[in-house]
Amino acid sequence: MKALNDVNLEIPRGEFVALLGPSGCGKSTALNCIAGLLDVTAGAILLDDKRIDLLRPEERGFGMVFQNYALFPHMTVRKNVGFGLKMRGVGSAEADKRSDEALRLVRLESQAAKLPGQLSGGQQQRVAIARAIVVEPPLVLMDEPLSNLDAKLRLEMRAEIRRIHQSLGSTTIYVTHDQDEALSLADRIVVMRDGQIRQVGTPEDLYIRPAHLDVAEFMGFRNRVPGKIVAREGDGKAGALVTVQIGDSMVKATLREPIAGESAVLAVRPDDLEPAAAGVPATVETMEYRGKEFVGTAKGPSGSELVFRSHTRLANGTAVHLAAEPSRALVYSGMAA
């Protein structure tokens, strides 16, 4: 059993890359291999054309932020941040100065003399980030750094991480299972599943053009309905328009991967599915108020559940037709085996 298979990735200097995937997809394994905390059984890891996968973690000189922060509980915040500098033989006065600078960057300069146990979760994570970046590493690794924080703090820290990355421009690999985090932070996202890379692309690429159904599912395409391809336009490659039969209705949609036969899966994001004059017939089941609009669920052809948005509240049991832009309705062959 291999945790990672055929993973090839090149990261240019200064890029913020997110490894995104469900738990057990190998994203943390990949990160630990890069950090040197796990050995690779095959393959190589290179930094500036130098092979590093045989080096011990302490010889690689990367900065790493851990999910549970991993702050040294017996050292003050300043000493925690300065630890990497001390290990590099930086004098203690210089180390303290640079630690304080890093703490200023994460806005914790007033907490420098405290022990980590006296800080809140968000503050601790900021210390962990300061500790990782103070050594000015060629690569910063972040392993689900926000998953132990509550929702509000997570949003704040997300902005903080973005800000720190922009001010330092350090190459960063960020592991997460939260697509919002990946979309908002990363220059490039690597979607992983079962130890393999499923798609690499910019946040826009992944959001609008997921290459596979599992990627689409991960990107929030909650409506996935089986159908039959009845007509094709163009060359039949990804991007070509096709007509898909859902129940008795015909839907224009965009092909995202070549499909040989006629059976296919149509995937639409709830945001892109709206009541229209013509479309797939469905019966409204629930409506949820979301401030700007409503999010509803409806029973569609052959019992499929559809999630859609609406500007008005529709009564339960209302018969509606739901439709999406052909460019926002994506057609896949089905789940990857």
Binding site: E58, G61, P73
Partner: protein
């Protein structure tokens, strides 16, 4: 309840029944369950200790006369500290217990660090617990023949030509030393292992990614976090070793280098039939151990004592 605005329905404190008021202070029927334990402690620990303490100040008239005690109640203590044959048992016991405890601890730390990474910890733990269950007498008995002039140990060394005459390892200091290492190590090790495994492995990973070599990770991260636990381990192991008795007699030379303090108390009680003197020796032994405990606990206070995890989760 001490909320600022009590609801009208809430009963006032003086309306509550006695049992309710007691239970609010943490005293209820369940509290009675501690009574057997308290009685047990009183009968088997507090009373004998207090009695022994009192007895140690009731010397036999011969003792008072022999040491010409100015304060008769302290005659037993005066006798102990005026006779080198007696007071030297303290240093002799220290000479055995201290090196044994330190050696066990020094052996336990690296082994615990290795075992921490093993998957079959339970098997090893079981093997290590065996010497504890065997008891000191059986181990001493076994070592007597194994380490004796005709035992396996010497015969093997002679056969492979490492030595030409048997090494004397029984009926001297080294016999007692080795038996205490064997019976004391599992205890020291298991305690050390529990402290070592209690440290979040992410801390070591974090230190490694920050550039700390294995020796630096040990010195900067593990050791400071382990010191409080190691101090407790040291104390418990030391107190055990300081009370050495069977192996000091069976494997040592109880008239000479391994005349330990517990043996002095035994002789006073069961050879001289002077229970008061024996009690005094036992109290002295307790005080010596207490001094060590206080010193080590004080030193422990100089170190970080908080949780050994690196954050939440």
């Amino acid at each position: 309840m001490s909320t600022a605005t009590p609801s009208p329905a809430a009963p006032r404190a003086d309306d509550l029944s006695l049992s309710r008021r007691l239970s609010l202070r943490g005293l209820d029927a369940i509290t009675l369950l501690v009574v057997p334990a308290v009685l047990f402690l009183l009968a088997l620990f507090i009373y004998p200790f207090a009695y022994g303490f009192w007895l140690s100040f009731q010397p036999k008239p011969e003792t008072v006369e022999a040491v010409k005690a100015s304060i008769p109640a302290l005659a037993n203590y005066q006798k102990f500290f005026s006779d080198p044959f007696q007071y030297e048992t303290i240093t002799k016991t220290f000479r055995i217990a201290l090196p044994v405890t330190i050696l066990n601890l020094l052996l336990a730390i690296p082994i615990a660090f290795r075992v921490r990474l093993m998957t079959r910890q339970r098997l090893l733990t079981t093997i290590l617990v065996v010497p504890i269950t065997l008891g000191t007498v059986l181990v001493a008995e076994g070592l007597l023949t194994y380490l004796g002039p005709q035992g396996w140990f010497n015969r093997t060394l002679m056969t492979i030509g490492l030595i030409s005459n048997p090494v004397k390892l029984t009926h001297n200091y080294w016999g007692v030393f080795l038996s205490l290492v064997i019976t004391g190590f599992p205890f020291t090790f298991l305690l050390t292992l529990s402290y070592v495994t209690g440290i979040d492995p992410a801390l070591e990973n974090a230190a490694a990614t920050l550039g700390a070599k294995a020796s630096q990770r040990f010195r900067e991260i593990f050791l400071p976090l382990l010191v409080p636990g190691l101090a407790i381990t040291f104390l418990l192991s030391f107190v055990q070793a300081f009370a050495v008795f069977p192996s000091a007699i069976m494997l040592g030379e109880p008239a000479g280098s391994t005349r330990v303090i517990s043996y002095a108390a035994y002789q006073a009680a069961f050879e001289d039939y002077d229970y008061a003197m024996a009690s005094a020796i036992a109290i002295i032994m307790g005080v010596v151990q207490l001094v060590v405990v206080v010193i080590v606990l004080w030193a422990r206070n100089l170190f970080y004592k908080g949780p050994v995890a690196g954050g939440k989760g």
